[in-house]
Symmetry: C2
């Protein structure tokens, strides 16, 4: 028995982390290349470096929304064209309705930013106002939306690139993955890095497209040039201009609104005062997007733009406005680039959402940990892996998935607006009735759009969303239930009994007598007076020599103190007899058993393979023996550089 | 200070391994599927189950040699045909010379088996008689040969299959890998498994082909049928029948002798008395192979067989002997099968060779360990991975590599015969001069054949062998030099000083107070009276709550004994402050530091992801601190099956 003296609470000085300075590269050799890529670890106080300003917010969180001008108006015209040329003028009223909805959404999300500055958007709003169930649906819908957005954006950008340079087509998937890798690394550095990197193309895109619209409205330069492609306006078998058709066109056009939620979801990414900055970004986004949509609709109506082969609606309008000259090509190229960069929006949203879900026990807690660069790096990795897998699975061709992610977004819109209605009703601020009516109306419209999306695209893939969202909700619920049960088992929340001190037996597996053996026995004796060394002698049928008797003789000659036990076995595994011996000792009495595994730790990684990796197999075998403490004692082995006298005696 | 009482050498009973019985599947849950595939662990006494008899030796170790009748005669005729029809009759004298060489080789390898019953063939012979340098060349050449044999055999078999069923062609590589996987698993079970599995096709092949030859010699049934294909005998631009041409034809035909060495390389695989059994197998192989070669040569000469398009020489002879009826097709199919199974020969040879190289410190020691089934499983895995990679790299098309592996084999032949000459000269048994002359002549002929191979095939790929063999030799030399230096560093061979006992400080990282914390503190106090618990408080800029003060309050309320230290950090990583604290304690005094990491060990693997894996990152970070003992304390967490009351409180 060893006497136990419980240490007193001393007045140790509070400890400050020793910062690994950059002048100490030896300390973290394996991480250096990685750190060149993602940058050195950041202090909390430096976090604002990686936080964003409103203008940067446009490039970091709004590209998803802004680039939807590339497909929103197109979607309306394609539906309207089913009723022939006479219905094309309806684009203006429909776009007006969409812009009104945009205004409602911007208005609501500004309130969301105010009320839930922790981010999470629809998830946070519905969790606070509509209950756990609705919030999980919102969370699941957002996760599906974020993953699809990454894949679809990158594939759309690369698709535009390969249309321009068909020789690149075989490289579609590698190019997609390379872009994904770049965006991932930038986000692991911090969102600020990607925001700054993408700022120039974003501004070029906004200014360029607005300029083209202004030229088109005031003094079109290319209107009388022949447009390439062939008109796809059908002239026979036309549908009637029904309410249903207009509804469908409206819903299709609503895809232009996807991404409006991203700013509210990512409030913590903004620099302080973050609520003010986030709200300002939301307004800027609303104004720019609304202006673009309206401008394009006016021009489309004025010039009777219809669908054409190999020509997007946006390309037609741009061509008519400024002619197919340098301005057209510069802005077209910029649109291609920002389409790919729109993937970045998800990297702003999903990691924060995942950290909130983890904080509420709906996802593994590791999503709540920040990495060296103060970002939620596990969420970034998971998003990169999921969307990369999706890109590979569909071969970089995700065009058909574009309408799908609108379903996730619009589910989120509906839930956050409904949540706000409840919020107004509960808190009753000034003019709460008016606010509730606006948001209630918004909720109705977005719910209707969600339904139309779902029904009209069900067979083209919307069913995937219908299946995936409940599966995510089930996952969340099961994870939370597990944590609850684990918390009960671990006795969290109530103080456990006092620690129980036991006698300790240290078992040291050895294979020979060397400096490593001395080190291991020394450390074992430092842990307990009760130490046994063991070695395995396998019974060789092929007559290989048995060194165990010799080892036993040397051991008694060395006489280090603890006895050496020889385990004989008929089997060839040396791990099983060790485990069996440990089991035998466990059964004997109530002593605490520590297995101390001696290991050689060579200076160079490639030499590890040359030493028997008994620690790995033995640790794995002992994983199930939870009452055994497994400890490693390492001997550093700095073997001098190879000299000329190689062919000397053998060792180890 | 704790009093240290060195334990006395008690008279503990010698320990017998507790055998994991098959009725205890819970003990090794992850391995059960695998064990169904490769069988339960074998005792040394059961090893003979997996050892082979002479007849099994034919299917396990001789298919490589026997199947060379499919390409050996062909290779001779293709060379002779360069001099037109008039030279084809030379096949008989050339084959006679080859069979004479075969007799010399069988004679030598019987001596090798006698002298080196540990296996290893050319490596063992040249190590004992020609010195380390020659033995390493032999070892490297054999490794190249074994790897090529596996890839070439499987590809040849699958090639024959896809010729018969062209629709399978796109699946060439997967089919190759599937066959490789089957052969690998059979060999992991033990060579006996593959020997028994391949016995039937082997016997069918031997009996079938010999029967066809006999029918051809006595009463050919199909001689007057038209042969398909077009004669490839050239009639213009003929070469003269020079000595060089005959030499080339002889060398090409020598490819029929590859594989003759395999039995001597794999002696330990035979059942006792293994030397006698191996020698008997070697004679059987020589007789069968010699008979087949001679019979085919007689028939080829009698029927003036020349090269034809889409028709191998063997196929022509078989067709002429028995007609293209069922016997022809059955034996053709059998040849296809045994061609693929010839890969098995390498699995008999390489693992033993690798274990010998490992025993001599030329390869990592893990190649010297036997697996559960008493086979050298690491060698089997490496061979499977290398040849699988080769199959994938060349897309399953290794036809052009067939002559390459002959170079490795013939280098081995030359070295083992030269080694025997030295052996006879040293030991001087009865009639040693006669033996030395025979082996010396054999060495000269095989050296000549090696040279002709090398020169004539240099540009078609023989240069690969010329590069690879020295690289392997370099690897062997460097590994041995490393082991020698490591042995010196570890002080192996001299008794180290007495163990030094130190005071121990146990550091326990905790994140909350739970049953796990109690367990960890209990085990820490069992190791030393000097224990510190630490926890990391990260300084959150985003205002996430800091629980550390509350934890400190709860800790003093619980009052388990050791103090709780709060580590504050500005960084987000929780590992770095812990490491920095440990470094601080290391610098203080000479105490032995033990880091005891508390871990939750859930019953189901999939729940592991739900618990923070601090043990992995912390262990990795502490790998370089070799003076710190890292220990794991595990709490099993058997969470009861999910009940209906899921949505209760949260935990962990």
């Amino acid at each position: 028995m060893q006497p136990i003296v419980l240490a007193q609470e001393e007045d140790r000085p509070h400890y400050d982390a020793v910062v690994p300075t950059e002048s100490d590269p030896k300390e973290l050799p394996g991480r250096s290349v990685w750190h060149v890529l993602i940058g050195r670890p950041l202090r909390t106080s430096e976090m604002s470096q990686e936080q964003i300003t409103p203008v940067e917010g446009l490039s970091a969180l709004s590209l998803d929304a802004l680039t939807s001008v590339a497909y929103g108006p197109e979607a309306i015209i394609v539906v309207l064209a089913l009723a022939g040329a006479k219905s094309l003028h309806l684009i203006l009223p429909i776009t007006l309705a969409i812009v009104a909805l945009l205004a409602i959404l911007v208005f609501s999300y500004r309130q969301v930013i105010d009320a839930y500055p922790g981010g999470g958007g629809a998830y946070a709003v519905s969790r606070a106002n509509l209950g756990a169930g609705a919030s999980l649906v919102a969370g699941a819908a957002l996760i599906v939306d974020y993953t699809l957005t990454v894949s679809v954006s990158i594939a759309a950008g690369v698709g535009a690139l390969t249309s321009a340079f068909p020789s690149l087509t075989p490289g579609t998937v590698p190019i997609c993955l390379a872009i994904l890798a770049i965006i991932t690394v930038l986000n692991l550095r911090g969102l600020g890095a990607s925001a700054r990197a993408f700022l120039l193309p974003t501004l070029l895109f906004i200014v360029g497209l607005l300029a083209i619209i202004v030229v088109g409205l005031l003094h079109p330069l290319g209107l009388h040039e022949a447009q390439p492609g062939r008109s796809l306006l059908s002239t026979h078998g036309l549908q009637v201009v029904s309410v249903l058709l207009v509804l469908k066109a409206f819903s299709a056009g609503c895809s232009a609104l996807t991404g409006v939620e991203a700013i509210a979801n990512g409030v913590p990414l903004f620099r302080q005062p973050r609520v003010k900055r986030a709200k300002r970004t939301e307004v800027m986004l609303g104004l720019i997007l609304g202006t673009m949509l309206l401008g394009l609709a006016v021009l489309a109506r004025r010039w009777h733009v219809g669908p054409r082969s190999n020509q997007t609606v946006l390309s037609q309008i741009m061509g008519m406005a400024v002619g197919r000259h340098w301005a057209y090509y510069v802005v077209s190229l910029t649109i291609t680039v920002v389409l790919a960069l729109a993937a970045n929006t998800s990297f702003g949203g999903l990691p924060i959402l995942a950290s909130l879900l983890a904080r509420d026990d709906y996802l593994p807690h590791l999503f709540g940990l920040r990495g060296d660069r103060q970002v939620f790096n596990n969420g970034i990795w998971v998003l990169a892996i999921l969307s990369g897998a999706l890109l590979v699975a569909v071969g970089g061709n995700t065009n058909e998935m574009i309408p799908l992610f609108a379903i996730g977004v619009f589910t989120g819109f509906t839930l956050s607006q409904s949540g706000l209605v409840v919020h107004w009703w509960r808190t009753r601020p000034q003019r709460w009735r008016y606010r509730a009516v606006v948001n209630g109306g918004g909720a109705l419209v977005t719910a209707l759009a969600t339904l139309v999306f779902l029904i009209s695209k069900f067979e083209q893939g919307a069913w995937i969303v219908v299946i995936t969202v409940p599966l995510f909700v089930l996952l969340f619920v099961r994870i939370r239930a597990y944590y609850a049960r684990a918390g009960v088992e671990l006795g969290i929340g109530s103080l456990p009994g006092k620690p129980v001190v036991k006698d300790t037996l240290v078992i040291v597996p050895v294979s020979n007598i060397s400096e490593l053996t001395k080190l291991a026995i020394s450390e074992a004796l430092s842990l307990s007076a009760d130490v046994i060394a063991i070695t395995v002698a396998t019974d060789r049928a092929d007559g290989a020599p048995d060194y165990s008797e010799e080892l036993l003789r040397e051991w008694s000659q060395w006489n280090p103190g603890p006895p050496l036990e020889i385990l004989r076995t008929e089997f060839s595994s040396i791990v099983e007899p060790i485990v069996a011996f440990i089991d035998q000792e466990r059964a004997k009495d109530d002593r605490q058993i520590v297995v101390l595994i001696p290991m050689v730790m060579p200076g160079r990684l490639r030499y590890r393979l040359l030493h028997n990796q008994i620690d790995l197999v033995l640790s794995a075998a002992l994983r199930k023996r939870t009452d055994v403490v497994v400890a490693r004692v390492q001997m550093p082995l700095e073997v001098p550089r190879r000299s000329r006298d190689q062919e000397s005696s053998s060792g180890d």
